[in-house]
Amino acid sequence: MTVEEAIAQLQSPDVSQRYYAAWWLGRFRVQAAVPALLLALQDESDRTALGGYPLRRNAARALGQIGDPQAIPGLRACLQVADFQLRGAAATALGLLGAGQAIPDLVELLTATGVPSALGTEELPQPYPAILLALGRLNAQGAIPHIQPFLTHPLPRVQGAALCTMYLLTQDTQYIEQLLQVINGADTRLQRVLLGDLGETGYLPVAAAMVQVQAEPSFKLMGLHRLLSQWLSTQSQPLDWQALGSVFALMDGLL
């Protein structure tokens, strides 16, 4: 597929082709696709049975990977849409884009009491893990008082994200120690999810802690793969070999 074909495919009558095109454009970080992807954030035609917007979710992810700040207003608007997964994808993308102006929106979602969507809300009103981790990436020091209550959240997944976020914001290793306890105490399914959440941050200093978890080596390897994928999606050539080498050494050891 060429870049032109992929951009054209974003308007294909076939929903699954559009969904794939959005993924492809993000994967290859196609700068020229930003206007088309921003249009895709408005898509109304691709809907799930519950009313979700799959194309918008993939477009949001792609915009986060491409890294063009033009996408920030469109992604901020996604935080208000009645689709739990879209809000999560937009929060992650805003974190990757370094969109400091989105901090107040993200904090508002943390503190909102109303439930904006019936979608994906069996457990949570908002995608707290994605929101918290994005605040960590954005170095939102002012948000700390709003993050702290989540350190004792009843769901380990949220608690884990809050601990990781506090570590990102303070560099205080007590949070990593607590995080390891949460992960070590979790069942295997949750361990995999928590390692994936950590990977989603793309924050390389977390890598060493991820390897210390007492979990299946495969889960750690997948988490580190996610971490490096996210990190690489924000880097330009030439790559920082030293940073890369330290994570590769950890991954090689998990084979």
């Binding site: 490096l228 994928s229 790559l239 070999w241 080498g245 084979l255």
Partner: protein, 212 residues
């Protein structure tokens, strides 16, 4: 390491069998691992790899590595066909020991095991094989290169990543036969165009490391 009295080894065995909670199990396996070089301990440690407990398996692996080549026949004979977690740990031990007696098993596992974790471990083992033990290693080395080439287009990024690590370990050992060197280079170059960004970067990193 002192040779344990027969009674104390018997006692350790019983503690292992009776361990009811994770702490007791871990303590028993830790003590057992210290005697990894005793022939009777090797099968016990291999059994522990199947307990589905990553922490305990890690300790048992340490004990088996202490036994080194002496553990190879038992590891091969007791490879768990049903529990792929146990199989992956055993293959990791074999990979680290690098004994060519494990070559056929590692190659078969690298190509055809249904568990990706087992395949990754076996691939790494193919790269870290200690070839000194073989009188004429070239035929076996050519076979290994064929295996690495055969799986290099696997759909699973983890398999392709493990192939790169195997190539790098083999190259670092400095004993790649001259006729295979161009094939090794071509394979690494091929991965610098991989569709997965991490695999691609791993290949670039490997080439960068060589240039230094």
């Amino acid at each position: 390491m002192d040779v344990p009295e027969p009674e104390s080894l018997e006692q350790l065995k019983q503690r292992l069998n009776r361990a009811a909670e994770p702490g007791e199990l871990l303590a028993a396996v830790q003590e057992l691992s210290a005697y990894g070089d005793q022939p009777e301990v090797i099968p016990l440690l291999i059994g522990v790899l199947g307990y589905n407990n990553p922490r305990v398996a890690q300790v048992a692996m340490g004990g088996l590595l202490r036994a080194g080549r002496r553990a190879v026949p038992e590891l091969l004979q007791r490879l768990d066909g049903y529990n792929y977690g146990a199989r992956a740990y055993a293959i990791r031990v074999l990979a680290q020991i690098g004994d060519p007696r494990a070559l056929a098993v590692l190659e078969e596992a690298a190509r055809a095991d249904f568990a990706p974790s087992v395949r990754r471990a076996a691939l790494r083992g193919l790269g870290s094989m200690v070839w000194d033990g073989l009188p004429q290693p070239e035929a076996a080395q050519t076979q290994v290169m064929q295996t690495l080439e055969a799986v290099s287009r696997d759909g699973d990024w983890g398999i392709r990543y493990a192939v790169i690590v195997a190539l790098e370990l083999w190259w670092q050992a400095g004993n790649v036969p001259a006729p295979l060197r161009p094939r090794l280079d071509a394979l690494l170059q091929h991965f610098t165009q991989d569709s997965d960004p991490v695999v691609q970067a791993r290949a670039q990193f490997s080439l960068h490391r060589r240039d230094k």
